[in-house]
Point group: C2
Chain length 260, copies 2
């Protein structure tokens, strides 16, 4: 069996997240991809992803792998997949990797960007990929707050326990390699940095469920002056979800890069 690694880009707006659902009528990215691969390779295929993104979350550099007995050329696989897949999912590259490569377990780190458009008027070009916040945010304070997450911590306070699971997460400790907030030129449009764009960047070995969105939801409260940056340390130590702020909307979140 060959082991194939794909890098994907998708606009998560119309999807109920990455993970395939038992009901055929629930649109998921994995559902679309697995059925496109099955059609192309004439065999059942099950892809494994680096990030099981939630409903509405986007990806710029999602990495997946799958096993196949097909000997189809890589260039034909990526070209044909792009022809079969819906317009809001694209295959950026395909390569053959060693049998042991596992997109989900092997990453050194994953990097997510959360985009906040902090200005009075929306962006018609970026609307689906940013949270629009008209009230003025203090970027320096947000940066000071999220930097407190760097290092190895118990992230119970910044995590949603999925419904139907009685107990807490097995191991809520994660190592955050970088957490920052910048008034960024991370997106440039028509040759100009986007006015008012703020990027919250978080790079970690792995993430808990809704972790980035709860961090951002809480950080926005810091940016509005309703909480202090120091609260982030206190919230971490409390180990209690109710101490953190609301979960920021999915649309602002993009899985940007996965490093192996």
């Amino acid at each position: 069996m060959r082991n194939i690694k794909l890098i994907l880009e998708y606009d998560g707006t119309r999807y109920r997240g990455w993970q395939k659902q038992p009901h055929q009528d629930v649109r998921t990215v994995q559902g679309e991809l697995d059925s496109a691969l099955a059609k192309l390779l004439s065999e059942p295929v099950e892809t494994i992803a680096a990030g099981r993104t939630d409903a509405g979350v986007h990806a710029y550099g999602q990495v997946v792998n799958f096993k196949t007995s097909s000997d189809m050329a890589l260039s034909r696989i990526s070209y044909s997949l792009n022809a079969i897949l819906p317009d809001d999912i694209a295959v950026k590259s395909a390569e053959e990797v060693s049998a042991g490569f596992d997109a989900r377990h092997d990453p050194l780190w994953r990097e997510y960007h959360y985009y906040i458009l902090n200005r009075s008027y929306r962006s018609v070009f970026l609307d689906r990929f940013v949270l629009h916040e008209g009230r003025s945010l203090d970027i320096g304070k947000i940066d000071e707050a999220v930097r407190r997450l760097q290092g190895r911590h118990d992230f119970t306070s910044f995590c949603t326990v999925p419904r139907g699971i009685a107990s807490a997460v097995d191991n809520p400790v994660r190592k955050v390699l970088e957490a920052s907030c910048r008034h960024a030129s991370d997106i440039v449009w028509a040759g100009e940095p986007v006015e008012g764009l703020i990027t919250v960047k978080i790079r970690a070995h792995a993430f808990l469920h809704n972790m980035v969105r709860i961090v951002v939801g809480t950080a926005v409260e810091v940016g509005l002056g309703r909480r202090n940056p120091e609260d982030f340390t206190r919230i971490l130590e409390a180990g209690d979800r109710s101490q953190a702020g609301m979960t920021a909307p999915a649309k602002g979140l993009t899985l940007v890069k996965v490093q192996y």
Copy 2:
């Protein structure tokens, strides 16, 4: 009467262009804007635009003006308009200008960018704003071709005479201040220049109907090696639309800036 200048951004995908149509059920940007203004100011309003963009063409810096007897504060006008207007139209700024200011007649120049995504796979983020061309284009040759348009020329060959108008355009002479093609960092996404993005930039005092799109359609043929850059001079001199190439799709075109 006050004279108010607005700068607008819109995603032209869902619109039959700028100009209001007699039929109420034809969606146009001016139709949406004029009716939002009439609702807000409780009087009929007719806006005048710098660029009467065609169906599917976008704007990043469209400039319009209108006269009103209302004394509503500018900040309230822009805020309320953004609340009334559909999500794919946004007001970026509002200012009061002298009575004589005319958005359509006063520009020193208008700048359009045409975006071509020259790579094998589409961009799910930019799909609505670029022409996707999978075959490899020679950017240097396109640049050489379009630079031949700089200066004052008769652009009859690069112009569509609107249907229902018997004669040719009154005056087909236009002065192009800049025409270039670059492998550009004009759009950056997630901190990285978009792979394969090509920007054709044209700045002129004024444009003829479909001028940029016919220039780009013809330039793509140069990029594919089907025509030579020198052909652009010959086509200009011919004064014959049939000598130029096809009209490139509207979706790749954005009115970026208008200078007064």
